[in-house]
Symmetry: C2
Amino acid sequence: MLSVEEARRRILAGLAPVSAEMVALSDAWNRVLAAPVIARLTQPPADVSAMDGYALRAADAAAGARLRVVGAAPAGRPFDGTLKWGEAVRLFTGSVIPAGADTVLLQEDAEPDAETVMVREQPAPGQHIRRQGQDFSVGDTLLAPGLRLGARDIGLAAAANHPWLTVHRRPVLAILATGDEISMPGEPIGNGGIVSSNSHALAALVRAHGGTPVLLPVAADRVDEIAAAAAGARADLLVTTGGASVGDHDLVQAGLTKAGFALDFWKIAMRPGKPMMHGYLGGTPVLGLPGNPVSAFVCATLFLLPAIARLAGLAVTGPATETAVLGVAVRANDHRADHLRATLARSDSGALVVTPFVRQDSALLRALAEADALVLRAPHAPALEAGSSVEIIRLHDLGV
Amino acid sequence: MLSVEEARRRILAGLAPVSAEMVALSDAWNRVLAAPVIARLTQPPADVSAMDGYALRAADAAAGARLRVVGAAPAGRPFDGTLKWGEAVRLFTGSVIPAGADTVLLQEDAEPDAETVMVREQPAPGQHIRRQGQDFSVGDTLLAPGLRLGARDIGLAAAANHPWLTVHRRPVLAILATGDEISMPGEPIGNGGIVSSNSHALAALVRAHGGTPVLLPVAADRVDEIAAAAAGARADLLVTTGGASVGDHDLVQAGLTKAGFALDFWKIAMRPGKPMMHGYLGGTPVLGLPGNPVSAFVCATLFLLPAIARLAGLAVTGPATETAVLGVAVRANDHRADHLRATLARSDSGALVVTPFVRQDSALLRALAEADALVLRAPHAPALEAGSSVEIIRLHDLGV
């Protein structure tokens, strides 16, 4: 059986970022840049005032001097003359400093009348001036490919005059649920049947991580039906789930094989997570998740989310982990990496405390929904006392 | 001047969650529940097998006993007879336990031939059976109003047979940028003009927090134009930005007043953040953000994001903070709450270290985009050495 790390390495090795598309700036939030954003203008475009006040020559402006106000230059309407000896121009935040001026007298330090202004305190040369290009200049690379665009990045791209951005298109993930017992929510449920939950949860995860989910019609437990459904998928990654009714993945694997599937591996030394399958159907990578909802989720967290990130153009090698302190003792682990569902809390001293649920039954969807984190237990990890440090994966941060 | 906390309290006090709508389960990820999700079925729907194996009576199944296999019950196709003495039924994970059976013999502990199965190890009564309703039962409240739906919640709602969910509609936020010098990206830029960045960054923030942004046409620096633009907005919250060309908010405030604006307050003891305005235009709450991009962002983080959360139906009183360790010394603070832009890193010992930028110039969009966090400095906070603990707000977590 493969280790979790080796399995993830092999899955990621078979994936490349999807191609690019152009989107309007207003649609680009949370997308991943595929081309650099290079400044198309200089910011500030000229030397501008950082405050409301008066542009003048510092040498003219001893305390008590009275200068002639020869104009005003609101932001966007620069004064087009040149300031001469003994003159001042009214300015506002963002106003271009007129030619000939070399400093800004603060409004608070000025005493204006109808046509002149009296200097209360002599300004230093260059004071309250934001220099041309202080933020960025034409040709500067402002944002690099591989960045997931946050709101501030959108603001920066706007300021650099980009109405369109080149981003990776959203990876398309086809989701194939199988099983005679599966109904969709709101549809008739057979005797002994259950309502599909995995495919909906997985579709939401795909959305949360910037992909486009395609829910393939549920395939009955027949090899030819599974083969046809898989062969018809047009996706950057095909995700299967279930097939439990005749013993885990046997039927899904048989169906995929009929469609031309090349298996890479199907066993990982982990818990929960019965056999998880990986391989290729033609050029399409395939992840075969367990049918058990909790197992499917843990496998999705460990393998599917990094896969989506890689497809989306992000430099990701695995889920982000952090350290927390155990709220209770845990037993020694066996040979399989374990992933305990747990709650998080802050202790009085501010420490992050993680407490695994007493019941780790992998059929309990409701307990899964209430978990804040997974506690990572390596193969053969020793028993730990309460208060020991452990690595965790936070679930809420993943949109999970 | 108001404190940050008092200002936020007053802003939030004027906001109520927006009304509800029904959305398809597949559109419900990240929406906020407005009605509880109550289980419409019981999960598991009957006692089911947790493993592949054989249903039988524990009393019949001493080690070495040979039982007659009278049928098979794949998941979704229950065995409809009643198990009699000496009989077994082939089962798979999720199969309904047939009437008369009281335990499951693991496949690994069974030795089958054409018509019978030999017991290798006697199973305990009730073993490997998941009881009816072990996860949830009809009528259980599974998800409560006010929850932002994660992927696991979507899975749980699906399993509970909900094809539709009742969620708060997305709050509509109208964004009004003003200023003669403002162009939209890609449009002609006047002499001394700049490209709007605030409104695009704010629109992205609104999206990131689950709202729908409406970008009103940029209003020129004229009272009547601002009044007309504001009066025409149909929104749950009107956000203005800019108006810097004639001295901060004076013109925006004058324009709004002409449209019937009732001012609540317009000064907060904070930095960055020149006057930030709050009030009501008819029944519409209004937030007037500074025109300076960094000031606008800090104000949005402190006031706008909690406002969107309140409108969206979440129980939020302010941005989430956490504790970090200063990487450098900071000076004593004056009477205004300060919000230092800073980077985050992990020390060798795993501590979260926050290092404010040397230049805190509020005109630097590029430095803002590179910040990981804001360091919160209360009014009159004393000077601190490197290594001291401070409260921070993480920016990436906010979609910022």
